[in-house]
Amino acid sequence: MFYREAGDFKTSYSEDNQTFPIKFDRWRYYFVLLVAFAVVPFIINDYWVNAVFLPFLIYSIAAIGLNILVGYCGQVSLGTGGFMAVGAYACYKLMTGFPEVSIFIHIILSGGITAMVCVAFGLPSLRIKGFYLAVATLAAQFFLVWLFNKVAWFYNYSASGQINAPERTVLGTPITGAQTEPWAAYLFCLVFVVICAVIARNLTRGMQGRKWMAIRDMDIAAEIIGVNPLRAKLSAFAVSGFFVGISGALFFSVYLGAVEVGEVFGITKSFLVLFMVIIGGLGSIFGSFAGAAFLVLLPVLLKNVLVGTLGWPTDLAAHLEFMIVGALIVVFLIAEPHGLAQLWRVAKEKLRLWPFPH
């Protein structure tokens, strides 16, 4: 009743092939875009941007990237933190090396550089599969973090070993640095999120996405029906690296402003993004957003309730947070192994009939 495909007639092929073929989905998509671009920037303040919106948007990009690799192509990766670090350091080197170029271009270029690094570490995936590959990608994680710690060229020989984002503007508005307005940072990230989501959505429902899914379901069978595993796997690594690199660059330049690599891009970050992908739903772009929102909001909520409302000591609340996050993940996997995206699909099925089920 509320969600229906019936009566939605297409009269041309381009209409039939559009990104959201169902009218309801399309309108909902336009509505969300409208709210995100035209309403949210006017009502948010510093706290909301820094605690909720920026992490949500940036992690969404990373989750989409990882979802392409894990959910669509079936290559489990635990190196996301390291690849985000590549994006961050590439962005830093570009920003300090070519200050006259727009930061927009820098961030896209850092995505490209990360894609290349990601492909290099993806090469073993042609030989190694499953858990062996997951552990192999940890090599990337540890090696990259070590590299950025030890080679002083990457942090411009600064004494602290940190990298700090210099102030940059887009259309005259500061985007990085201390002068940034919350809405400007929010809109800048939002533009990237929308671009990435549109690219990812269209890649995954086209020929390339089908090749990836064929490889995921069974790579030998895919090879027999004519999918080149080398190109399919490496392209998944490249696209995934591109997104993860962009998110790393944004994470460093817009969100944090100063980064110490071992702390920010450590192994926990890899796990966090993987959690987002799995809780959100493997092989679903919507799921990446849902997972990112869930895991960004949960700690904020817990902290507010435990420390703010109940007045518990912060260290106790931090431990309790670990317990609750861990327990929720387990509960989630037991109740719905296919993630939030599956819950949404079920809800749509229900809405199609509700309130007249017969």
């Binding site: 499953g130 858990f131 940890l138 070590w146 030890k150 799995i278 106790l316 317990m323 996997l333």
Partner: protein
């Protein structure tokens, strides 16, 4: 004999000892993976939890003291008694068996027939939970663990090597004990798997779940048993590492050290875990000794992974892993 070579030999021996400790952690992984196909990321945290519990029982700490104090405004910390080490170890073992039963009943019974990646994620969730739980139960401060194991430089080896090379090797007594214990543990496990009824049942389950079920083996019992065994191995690893560097959060990171060992040795092989551990231990110590100073040190963080990665490219199933046969 040139000085460098003597140093290298000392590093080699120390690497061998470190490798045994890695192997000890890897062993826990292999046990669970073989019997239930679960890649148990929580193994490191289980070692931490076991060590925390052991210290807590020995010192007579009140569990959840911090939480109780925060909720009721009381000031309790200790019961005021000390439990002898052996009894405390036994009690900790009981706790670990209870934990195994709980983990199996609450989590993995409901996840039968799920994909391996889902099971893996569940163990990460378990790791998070246990980490927070252990800290809340026993407190997050760094604790000293002393169950009476010998520590410090081994005088005999020092003297003997001094007589031969004019340079005494520094070998920690604790490392020697760990080596002996690990060897005994592996030997016992192999005997258990080969010659006892439960061990055979365990191997049957590892081979084929459904076939094992159809000849009357209780999967539930075997899984609880395997998780208890892994808990026992975690306890031993926790004692060794805890005595070496104190019981603290970083103890749970030894799981990350064990992963390349597993890759190298193969996920399914107990001897593989031992040999892999030795190779990784010696390899990373020698690499740090030879190449480390040139590139700024701290290569131990990644060398093991890169070594395992390069190795896997040539032999994807690890040294002793079962050959991967793929059919369409």
């Amino acid at each position: 004999m040139p000085e460098q070579l003597v140093f290298a030999m000392e590093v080699f021996l120390n690497g061998l000892m470190a490798g045994v400790l890695y192997a000890l952690v890897a062993l826990g992984f292999v046990l669970i993976y073989k019997a239930s196909g679960i890649f148990n990321y929580a193994q490191g945290v289980m070692a931490l939890f076991a060590a925390l519990t052991l210290v807590g029982i020995m010192e007579g700490q009140v569990p959840f003291a911090h939480l109780i104090n925060a909720m009721f405004g009381t000031e309790i910390h200790h019961f005021g008694w000390h439990v002898p080490a052996l009894l405390a170890i036994l009690l900790t073992m009981v706790v670990m068996v209870g934990l195994a039963w709980l983990v199996n009943t609450i989590i993995f019974k409901h996840l039968v027939n799920q994909e391996p990646i889902i099971l893996f994620m569940a163990t990460i969730g378990l790791a998070y939970f246990l980490e927070g739980f252990g800290d809340i139960m026993w407190g997050a401060d760094i604790k000293k663990l002393d169950v009476g194991l010998p520590q410090g430089i081994n005088e005999a080896i020092d003297e003997v090597t001094y007589g031969i090379f004019d340079y005494g090797f520094f070998i920690d007594n604790l490392d020697i004990v760990a080596t002996v214990v690990a060897a005994a543990l592996v030997f016992t496990l192999i005997i258990f798997a080969q010659y006892t009824k439960q061990g055979r049942a365990m191997r049957a389950v590892a081979d084929d779940h459904q076939a094992a079920l159809s000849v009357g083996i209780s999967l539930n019992f075997i899984w609880v048993m395997v998780w208890s065994l892994a808990g026992f191995v975690a306890l031993v690893a926790g004692i060794m590492w805890g005595t070496k560097s104190g019981v603290q959060f970083s103890l749970s990171l030894i799981a990350l050290k064990a992963l390349p060992v597993l890759m190298l040795g193969g996920f399914t092989s107990i001897p593989g875990a031992i040999v892999g551990g030795l190779i990784i231990g010696v390899g990373e110590k020698l690499f740090e000794f030879a190449i480390g100073p040139m590139v700024g040190g701290a290569t131990e963080n990644w060398f093991a992974y890169v070594l395992a990665l390069v190795f896997l490219v040539f032999r994807p199933q690890g040294l002793f892993g079962e050959k991967i046969i793929e059919r369409v």
